[in-house]
Each structure stands twice: as structure tokens, then as C-alpha cells.
Amino acid sequence: MRPTRQRLLAVLLAAVLVGSLVVASGPIALVAPFSGDAWALADEANPDSAGSQLSRAATGPTTVESPYGEATVRYDDRGVPHVEAENDRALAYAVGYVQARDRLFQLDLQRRLMRGELAEAFGPGQVESDRFHRQMDFAAAANASWEAIEDEETRAGVEAYADGVNRYMDDRPLPVEFQVAGYEPDRWTPQDTLLVGKLVSWGLTGSFADIEEATVRERVDGSGELYPDRLDHDTPIVRNGTAVTDSQASVARPAPEKADFGAIHDAVAPYEPERGIGSNSWVVSGSMTEDGTPVVANDPHLQLTVPPTWYEMHLQSPETSVRGVAFPGLPVVVIGATDEVAWGFTNVGADVLDTYTYEWADEETYRYEGETRTVESRTETIAVSGGENRTVEVQKTVHGPLLEREGQRVAVAWLGLTGTREAEAVYDLNHADSVDDVREALRRFDLPTQNIVAADRDGETLFRITGQYPIRTVDNETVAGDRVFDGSAGHGEWAGFEPYGVSDFDGPGFAAFEEYPEVRNAPYVATANQRTTDDPPFYIARSTRYADGYRGERIYQRLDERAASGEPMNRSFHTDLQGDTYSKAAEAFLPHLTGAREEMTPEQRAAVDDLEAWDRRMDADSEAALVFRLWLDAYRNATWGPQFRANGLDESYFPADRTLETLPAESRWFDDPRTRETETRADIAARALNRTLERIDRAGYETYGDYNRLDLNHPFPLSFLDYEERAMDGSPDTVFNFRSDRSTQVGASFRMVVDGDGGVGSLPGGQSGNPLSPHYDDRLDTWAAGDTDPLPFEQRGPVIIRFEGEQ
């Protein structure tokens, strides 16, 4: 080739190269060696590395100016930050900085979800989520909560926290998720912190069970009997020996009306808390322990996420000394212990969401107590990455946001849609010196509705429920909230409730604080989301919102046996109980199978023989646990499926397992209307076993662990961000809780035992959201095995960041 022609060709190739570089400059800038954005945080990911140690030795820790005063951050060998500051504001500022350092993408994702801004970053698939969250207007509710906070220290702490988050964003490169997604987060605001609180509360109490049940009643004849006021078990949280009765005395309970709200329920169901979200906790008096100090144990069963739902931290200032876990986005410990008092939470399952229908004068006006009112309405634009922007109508009535799907319209009153003061309450918990301080703090713990257990070093213990409990009236008679109310008639309103405003929780619209169920200084109290008490002083919830009670029964059984044995309830007893895989559900349901032998083939009988010999433990290496777990699924489906699915109701509408367990053997619900025979419980149990054995064959399962697998994926679709998959013990109804059959799996999102020697805990994953950090998933093995690490009760690890007061 002639040189001139070769040069021309080279110029052409160079042009192609340059063009390619322009097109691919984003990905190249992401992954390039040294300067790649994806590796930008590699140098700070591992504080224990030789490079980091030498760097600190040479130049000292990273220094950051703080407008609030001095603070230091140590990271211990599990990546837990120990933050020490000269005052609480400097503390909150440092917490904001380190949470952003470790979890900034998670912070932003939570905020985008609740503000309805996911599609702007992640595309058209998020439009419906954004539509729902904007229509509920959670952002306005967070603004209302900001207005409701009167305590100056709390406000100052939240503001300092937001400043700390923003300082990190100003100082440091963004985490890899932002780089890959190609967007930058907005500034963090105090309202964003309160929005995280709304997210948590919604995830625990945002249930549309009223319209769900009305729909089932409408579509399935006689289904009202499947939703009793109380599930048939004898182990409420507060055990007082009262027999199960048909109604609660304190409220009128006419049967809820039938109505088909299927279209609305199908639309909102993806954003409801998944059924079965729950937790375990117990408090044990010092009289039951060796050293005379009470014990608090807690393992909240929330969605298992990457990175974890919780962020562990240890905070110290002249006013504060607390350790435990926070939701990322909050400057305070939510579950944990001060030097003097420990506390933990489980969900009550209270009914704090009501729905209202109206007589409509026209599309925009509805009748309300003899007048006509116009729907408040505004149009918002949902920005969509990679797609056309969409609009959404945000509408509100006197009761709250108006949801409309396929011509059905309901207004929603949810406790969290008003100004709530839980930020103040949790701030006070972080400064509590006694159980009495805890109780006092709970006066402003408006939401979520939780069972709290607490104990202090003086030996005082406490159980009570938190939150506000609406009192509904219809024609001046107090009624339960388990129905859709006539909004035009003003039925079922919560007096003093101001959606998106400041409510009067001390008025007649809410139960009085002093009436709440409470137990002081009992030998022990255990909570596992079962009903609170047989005789609540006011309406809390119907059976559908409580857990089946299997976990509660098992915990009380173990506590009772230990107490009767006279052996002290030491730390190992509590951690062992948190890891208990014995299934009370298996104990209750297996007679359904063994009683069906006559209907079975020899192969099925052999399987039943194995189940009878089984120890009822849902262990990963158990073959019988596999058969039972899949059989229960099949049994549930074979019983309810023919009548529910035929009416367009999937398994999310099925009644509770406790209801299935207690159906009489000849109940009509066992009869499959598609066959000419009249099936009984034995027929359905045998049929379900047949399907189970076929399924196991088809899937090639050998043990429970082949089915029951931990599979935690980061919301961002990059496989290296996911946690390593593994076989798991546990089931939805065991104390060692794990639910594999969810799009987002559920289990113990944190485990904690606090006793006289400090405490232990475990986290499903790691502290850091930085995938280059050794603490990204270093605690997963310990957690999955049911083991624990020490909780930080003293400052540990080298100083990594030093905050210096501005001159």
C-alpha cells in the first residue's frame, strides 16, 4: 500500500476510533483503570487495608469541617461506625455524613419511591408506582410531620443530619449505582428524613384489608365466616386466660358490607405491606436471669434487601449514648439500647387505614354531610427516563387522597398522612435513662403502631403498644374500622384528624394513651404479631391483620418451659430461641395429613410416615420439612383456590392459615365445586400431597434447602451487587423466620439480645453499601447461621473521619 493511501486509511481508522470513544465515553469513564467512576470509592472502601492504614499514619484521618462542632468516626471490624461528638448536633451531622458514605444510593432510592420519582431515574416500568405514591402524596405528609415537630432539639438534629448527608455529596464521588444509572441525587432535606419515617410506617400499617375483605365477601358467597374477629388460638401477647369469644365488647361490629373494590385493590396491592411482615420480641424480668438483669430480645422480620434495611451505629455525645440500628435516612437509633435501657419493636397490625365512598353529584363534586364539596385536584408530571413523560391527577377529599381505578373511587384516611411526631419520640428514646422515660417518650410516638418491649438496669420492664388508635363513630355509636365507610354521611371519621395537617391526637378521635394495653414488670412478655389481648380496651384490629399466632405460641412455650425448669434465661437461651426452627404450624396441620391415610397411595403413605417421624423443625437439610412446606402451599391452594380463583381472587386474598387449620373436617370449603363428588378435608389433604410429591419430583428438590433459598438481589440489575445465594433454615411460621416465596424475601432484618453483659446482634448482609468494601456482605454468614456478633458498647476501631468545628 502506498504511504499516502495508508495515511488516509489511518486517518479514517482514527476517526472511527474517536467516534467510538465519543459514543462510549460514558461506559469507558465508568470502568477505566485508576480514573473509572465505578472505582472512585475503592481507596476508602477498606479502612483496614495497608494503604489506608499507612495513609492515616502519614496524614491522619480524613478531616471534614463541621458547622456544628467536633466529632470523630471510628469504624470497627464489622464496619459499624462509632460516632463521638461534642454535642448532639455535631453527632447528627456526622451520622448524616457516614450514612451517606455507606448507604447514599439506598437513601435516595427510598426517597424516590415515596416521592413518586422512580421513573425519572429507572424508566417506564416505575410509572405505576410513581402514580400511586404521588396520589397518596406522602411527600406532603412528610412536610406536615416537619410542621408538627415542636421540639427544637429534634428539629436541629434532623437539620444537622441533612447537612451531613449533603456535605458528603459535596465532598466525595457518588456511589457506583449513580454512576451506572447516570443521575445525581438531589440535596437531602429534613423532610426527606421524615419521608423515610413515612416509608417505614407505610410498610407496617398501609393495609387496604377493608376493601380486600369487602371484595371477597361480594364475590365469594358465605366467605364472611372465614374472617372472624379473632383467630382461634389462646396465645395473645397479653395472656389473661380469657376465652375466645365472638366479639369485642367495646365496639359495635355489624358485619361489614359487601362491595366489589377489586379494581382498586388490584391496583394498590403491589404497594401494600406484604402479608406476614412481622417480628419477634420478648422482655424477660431480672428474676428469670442469672445476674438479675432483665433481657430484651428482638428480631424484626422485614424485607431482606441489599444493602440491609437497617444500619447499625453507636452514637456518643455528652447528652447521648446509644447503640443499635436505624433506618438509613434517620439520625437516631430505632431499635437498640442506651447505657441504661434497651427496647425493641414488633408490628401490632393495627387498623389505621380507612376508606370512604361518596355519592357523587358529578365527576368533581361529592356530597358530604348535606353539602356538596369539590375534589381538590392538581395535575403532576411524572418524568420518565427513556420514555414519554406521564401525567397524574392528585385528588383529595375531606378524608384524604382519592384513588380511582376503572370507575371505582375511594378516599383514604391513613394515620401517616397527617403530621406525626415519631421523630421526637425516637429522639427521646435515644436519651432514655429508664423504662419510665421510654413510656413518656411514647406519648408522641404517633406512628407506626408497634408492640414495644423495654427494660432498664434497675430491673423495670415494660410492654405496651405505640401509635395512635382512631375511634370511629357511625351515628354517635363507636364502631370497628373493618369496613368501607359512607364518606358522604360522615361515617367512621376520626375526630381531630387533619390529612396533611396537624391533628389533635389528644381529642376524642383517638384512644387515650392511658388506656393502652400495658404490662409492667411481668416475668416475661412475648410478642410475635399475634393479637394483643383478648379484651382490648378499644378496637385495634380484626383477625386478618394479626399473625396466625404460631410463632407466638412457640416463643411462649419455650419461655414457659424454661421458667418451669428453674434454669436461668441466659443469653444463650435467648439466641437459641431466636434460632428456633420448630414449626407449630406443622404440629397443627400434620393431623390433617395423617388422618387422610385412607385416601392415599402407598407412596403417599410412606411420605406421611416420614412426616410423622419428623421433629417438626424447618431445617435446610430436612426432607420432611420440604414435603411439609410444599404440601401446606398445595393444601391452601386446593382448599381455597377453586372458589377464590374462580372469582378472580388470587392467593393474596386467601384466609389465614389458622382459619384453614381450624376448619371442620367436613367443612363445605373443602368441597371442590368443579367435581361431582363432595370432598372432605381428607380428600383435599391427599390431593395436595399428591401434587406436592409430583412437584418435588419435577423440580428435583431433595431437601428443604433446595427450595428454601436465600436469594437477595440489589435493586440495581448488576449481579456482582447481589448477595451469595444459599440454603436456609426457617419458614414463615417459625421463630427463626424466613420467607423465600416472595419477590422480596422476608426474614429477621436484625437480631438483638441485650442483657446485663451488653448485647449481641446480627445483620443480614453488611454495613456498607459500597460493593468494594469488605463490609458489603461480611455479616451474612453469621446471620444465616443464626449466630450473633457483640453489639458495640464501647468505642472501637481506628478514627477514620475527624470532623473539625468551623473557625
Partner: protein, 118 residues
Amino acid sequence: MSAAERLRGVREGPRAEAAILVVFVVGVLASVVHWAGLILAGALLGLVAVSTGRAFVLGVYFGAFVLVAYGVVLAWYGTLGAVTTAFPLSLGLLAVSVVLPTAAATIVRFGTRLDTEG
């Protein structure tokens, strides 16, 4: 002395290997600042390489050199394992490190063939 003669002097003279070494060092330093340093290094290697085939090989060597240098830095900060397993980003890191300098070196050498070369 013409530019072509100077270039030939660098490519074929006694300091050819030293020139390559200098380019390696300068290239790594430039890559630390910006990924365009990989292109710059490749282009310089193309200028000093004795042939197009040699330029290609030097580009690959430089990519490997950058990867080793970066690997040492990551190991120093205790994140080599995490970066290596960050698939597919780590694959991108590998590809960018090798392809950019190799392509640049090859194209530049191809386009700077001297008239006196056969």
C-alpha cells in the same frame, strides 16, 4: 533533520527501548488523571514502535502494564478482590485497559509509515 528522519531515529536508534519505557511511565501517570491517558500512551507507542505489528504488541503490553499497576494500587487499598469480581464492570476494565492503547498504537503506527519503509 526532517521530522521523518527524527522519527526513524527514535524508532530504530539506540534509545528506542528507553523511549518505550518513558512512554509506559508517562502513559500510566496520564491514565491516573483521565482515561484519555490510555489513548495518549497508545499514540506515543505508535510513534516510537518500529513496525505496526510491534505497535500492536506494545499496546497490549501497555494495557497489561496498566492493569498490573492498577492491581497493585487496589491490592494496597484492599479492594483488588472486590474489583476483580465486579462482573461485568471488571470485564469492561480489562477491555478498556487493553483495547484503547492497542488500537491507538496500531492506528498511529499504521498512519506514520515512513516513505523509506518497504
